[in-house]
């Protein structure tokens, strides 16, 4: 059981595919509009339960409990060798320019 007051992330469906704008590209129109919000659990619950949370602006929002104490994992990405080549290229141009002076 995840105790009340725990910081969590909930997911909900704002619009089902049938409720989406008719003008949307088909790839988007076939998917639901989903929403994710963070807040503290109002009552103890399990992952996947339908729960209510209190958000940073003190709103009460309902949804499916997806994540406990959510954290960020975005990073500086993997090594991109092309960026090293840029370095070499610039050094060569500026060096060439200097040797021409």
């Amino acid at each position: 059981m995840i105790p009340a007051q725990t910081m969590v992330l909930i997911e909900s469906i704002v619009l089902t595919p049938e409720q989406r704008l008719a003008s949307l590209p088909i790839e988007t129109r076939l998917t639901p509009l989903k929403m994710w919000v963070k807040g503290t659990l109002l009552q103890e619950a399990m992952l996947g339960d339908s729960v209510s949370i209190k958000t940073a602006t003190n709103r009460v929002v309902c949804g499916i409990l997806k994540e406990v104490e959510p954290h960020y994992t975005h990073s500086f990405g993997q090594f991109v060798p092309e960026l090293l080549t840029v370095r070499t290229m610039i050094e060569e141009i500026l060096h060439e320019d200097k040797s021409n002076e």
């Binding site: 988007t28 989903k34 929403m35 960020y72 500086f76 993997q78």
Partner: protein, 479 residues
């Protein structure tokens, strides 16, 4: 009527409450509105804005000459060519971008009007800017972002902005792809009664006027000259509009205002499967062109961002060119900044090569970088999304399929967007199915497009649209 349409029908009523402006009072003629009066009545002189921004950490960033990049420009220019580039280092505002200027006035005004909180719908730096400025004023803050595709894959740059907003204490609403973000936004405005800190109110634009003003003043202080050109990244048009308005208040000399956007031609902004194929979430043609053609497609009834009134030239650069210049800025100037903020730098590099050595071009922004936003993070993410990354001719880059880092700086050029075509598209959109307009509308269309009266009239004649001169005169005297 479904629930989306039902809420959209209440849009004007919700907006009126949430921005404290009765837009109806500015409407006149068949399709016009009094833009100058809207801007004037919003209050706040340039010096008042300067004072507010000085208190709240949103102005007076340094203007830096990019000495080594300028050597590089000269190294690949013809004899006698290669202008000096200066960078207005806007990343040094609190929250890390020029958007702090816009948010500073929106939040100051919200506090003055007695609102308890602010809401903004933005996946860009503006979210962090509003969250930061709201924190300074003790206002609650909600930021609504388009963040994930239907597979749950988040664009790393937007995820980083979610983090930044939360760091400033804001509530972040993350959504999957789709323009119905506006539906959620309206729901939240109605539910909370918070201020709509839209990018497109007069406050959101006036906040940038100081940036244009400072670009001229700083350049004068450093070189005794006004810039020959200022390159401005263009998305929703606010950056161009505010900067140009500030320049006009700083000098009577002609400063060319050049808009620059990243070319994302072929990618659909509302298409779930295209969402993560772009490496730029703003400053691109997917916003730049639609908002130039129809400024009032924004989240307020009448946008204060009207780029066609101010643009002298509009160019595009490729994603590969911008990533390349972002790396060069690090290597040669020791300034590590986010790629999206370097769109105008990439354009300026190409433009400086066309200009004489005694000329000056100012790049009027930079933005912070970090996990997710960093150019390595974006290139790595793009590669994982199946985008081909290589060296090549930038003009052969296909958005959504390839990112080509320039292999020859002599071919580092911009592509022109022909402004007369954009103006014609604007007229086509605004005139729609109109059979007739009034005399007063002609002057409005001239101001909106920088076309002459004769050019507007010949468009009307070609499209069989009448104008009612007599009725219009009565309307003017009655106003």
């Amino acid at each position: 009527m479904n629930k989306v349409e039902a809420l959209y029908a209440k849009k004007n009523e919700i907006m009126k409450k949430s921005v404290g402006i009765d837009y109806d009072k500015y409407e006149y003629g068949t399709l016009s509105f009094d833009y100058d009066l809207l801007m004037e009545e919003a209050g706040y002189t340039l010096s008042q804005i300067d004072q507010i921004q000085s208190i709240y950490g949103a102005n007076h960033t340094p203007l830096k000459e990019l000495l080594h990049i300028n050597q590089l420009v000269k190294a690949c220019s013809k004899e006698g060519y290669g202008a000096r580039i200066f960078l207005k280092d806007e990343a040094l505002n609190d929250s890390g971008s020029f958007k702090a200027r816009r948010a500073s006035i929106a939040c100051y005004h919200a506090k003055k009007l007695g609102f308890r909180g602010v809401i903004a719908a933005t996946s860009g730096n503006y979210g962090a800017a509003v969250a930061s400025q709201a924190a300074k004023h003790g206002l609650k803050c909600i930021i609504v972002q388009e963040c994930y595709d239907s597979l749950g894959i988040g664009q790393p740059e937007i995820i980083e902005k979610s983090r930044a907003c939360e760091a400033y204490g804001a509530e972040v609403i993350q959504l999957s792809v789709g323009p119905e973000l506006f539906y959620v936004f309206l729901q939240l405005l109605e539910e909370t009664g918070y201020f709509n800190a839209s990018l497109y109110t007069p406050y959101g634009i006036k906040g940038i006027e100081t940036l244009g003003y400072e670009c001229v003043q700083d350049c004068l202080a450093l070189t005794n000259k006004v810039p020959d050109a200022i390159v401005v990244t263009n998305a929703g048009g606010g950056n161009v509009t505010g900067t140009a308005r500030g320049v006009l208040q700083a000098t009577q000399k002609k400063v060319q205002i050049i808009g620059a956007s990243v070319n994302l031609k072929g990618l659909h902004m509302a298409k779930d499967t295209d969402f993560n194929k772009k490496s730029f979430t703003t400053g691109h043609t997917g916003f730049g062109i639609p908002f130039a053609i129809n400024p009032d497609r924004s989240d307020v009834p009448r946008s204060a961002a009207r780029p066609l009134r101010y643009l002298d030239r509009y160019v595009t650069v490729t994603q590969g060119q911008v990533f390349f210049m972002t790396e060069v800025l690090c290597l040669l100037e020791g300034i590590e900044r986010g790629p999206a903020g370097n769109t105008s730098l990439a354009a300026a590099f190409a433009i400086a090569k066309e200009m004489k050595t005694d000329q000056i071009v100012v790049v009027q922004e930079s933005e912070y970088t970090g996990a997710g936003k960093h150019h390595q993070a974006q290139l790595s993410f793009a590669r994982n999304q199946g985008i081909h990354i290589a060296f090549g001719n930038p003009q052969e880059e296909i958005p959504g399929k390839s990112i080509l880092l320039p292999n020859n700086l002599k071919d580092f050029t911009v592509q022109e967007i022909f402004l007369p075509d954009v103006r014609a598209q604007y007229l086509k959109t605004i005139l729609g199915n109109q059979e007739s307009i009034q005399e007063v509308d002609i002057a409005y269309l001239m101001a909106e497009t920088k076309l002459t009266r004769q050019e507007v009239i010949s468009y009307l004649e070609q499209h069989g649209i009448q104008w009612e001169e007599t009725y219009a005169k009565q309307t003017i005297s009655g106003r």
